[in-house]
């Protein structure tokens, strides 16, 4: 009887080993994955700056496509000795995003003059030109809203004040006085489709600055403009 009990115990033990052996086998495994795509926006230079109508001056630091925007332009002589109709600086911008974007702008203008005849922010015409979404990987069907008056030199955007005789950029957001505080200049839907960062295409838009040479008070003027792109 005792032996029978021992063999029964042995049988149970072997059975346990067998069950343990079977349960130790694994014929499948799992790999669980996750990732994050955050909103992404960027602004870079869209290429070389063009300067026209200037007398003296020049482009001190030019734009280089797909590189950070850090342009320095000397508009040269803006008094009546410059006989051009306008001094115009065209600064190409390139924007890219994977979400709806807003490009705002803030500008400060400082002149050394002391009278109302000095160059002020309202004497610096500004506008964004044609927006283009072209190239592989660009969301070409996206839409954009340009809140500026386009090229400030357009006839519709300025005229001589009949009372003062001073030329003024009169259209809405057609000069830098409208951007004394951060103000939206351009907004739109996402720009890039699902392509690698190495894709160099994007949304291109020229920022156009213009000054009408006049009998301004003599002195020097500095203008600082900052563009900021966000994905609200």
């Amino acid at each position: 009887m005792f032996k029978l009990t021992k063999f029964a115990a042995l049988a149970v033990l072997l059975g346990t080993f067998l069950v343990a052996d079977i349960s130790a086998q694994s014929t499948s495994g799992t790999v669980n994955m996750s990732g994050t795509v955050s909103k992404f926006v960027e602004i870079n230079s869209g290429g070389a700056v063009s300067l026209a109508g200037n007398s003296g001056g020049g482009i001190t630091a030019n734009g280089s496509v797909n590189n950070p925007l850090a342009v320095v332009v000397n508009l040269g002589e803006l008094g009546p000795s410059n006989t051009s109709s306008f001094v115009v600086a065209d600064v190409p911008l390139k924007l890219r995003s994977n979400a709806a974007y807003v490009m705002s702008m803030i500008a400060t203008v400082s002149s050394s003059g002391t009278t109302t005849n000095k160059i002020g922010a309202s004497d610096i015409g500004f506008g964004l030109g044609a927006v283009t979404r072209t190239g592989v990987g660009v969301n070409s069907t996206g839409t954009d809203t340009n809140t500026t008056a386009n090229d400030p030199t357009l006839v519709a955007n300025g005229s001589i004040n009949a009372t003062s005789g001073r030329y003024e950029f009169t259209a809405t957001r057609s000069n830098l006085s409208a951007f004394a505080a951060s103000t939206t200049a351009l907004s739109g839907s996402y720009i890039m489709n699902a392509v690698p960062r190495s894709n160099s295409n994007g949304l291109n838009v020229p920022a156009i600055f213009a000054v009408k040479p006049q009998f301004y008070e003599n002195g020097t003027t500095t203008i600082a403009v900052t563009f900021t792109v966000t994905a609200p």
Partner: protein, 137 residues
């Protein structure tokens, strides 16, 4: 005497049964082949076991895969250990992916996946690759 004969027969029977069970149980086995590694990630991580005796259970967080990640690619290598006593074949299926283009992910078994016979632990390495893109969020 009769009890001893019965007991010996029972013991042989159990041993044979146990041996057969062992043969069937060891036919196929897949497990961790070592600690997974991740490269090119921004804020990503991977967890797994370095023990080849552990079940294959890996959790990967690729982290940031928008253009904010300036790396060329986010790459995870998951070592896999396979054992079998007869020709084997590894299959893979993707489940639970919502709002995801599976083509955006590349799965490669670096070693051959052709049917072959292996008797002991034979680690295989899989590579999971995701190139950072400007995917809309």
């Amino acid at each position: 005497m009769r009890t001893n004969a019965f007991s010996i027969s029972l013991l042989f029977g159990l041993l044979l049964f146990g041996g057969l069970g062992n043969t069937f149980a060891q036919t196929f086995d897949i497990a961790s082949g070592g600690l997974p590694t991740i490269t090119g990630a921004v804020g990503g991580s991977v967890t797994g076991s370095s023990s080849t005796n552990s079940n294959l259970s890996v959790t990967i967080n690729f982290g940031e895969v928008s253009p904010a990640n300036k790396n060329n690619i986010v790459k995870v290598i998951v070592p896999i250990a396979i054992r079998s006593t007869s020709p084997y074949k590894v299959t893979a299926v993707v489940t639970g992916a919502t709002n995801v283009n599976a083509k955006a992910r590349i799965f490669l078994l670096r070693s051959s996946t052709t049917i072959r016979r292996v008797c002991f632990s034979s680690p295989r390495t899989g590579a999971l690759l995701i190139p950072p893109r400007s995917t809309t969020s």
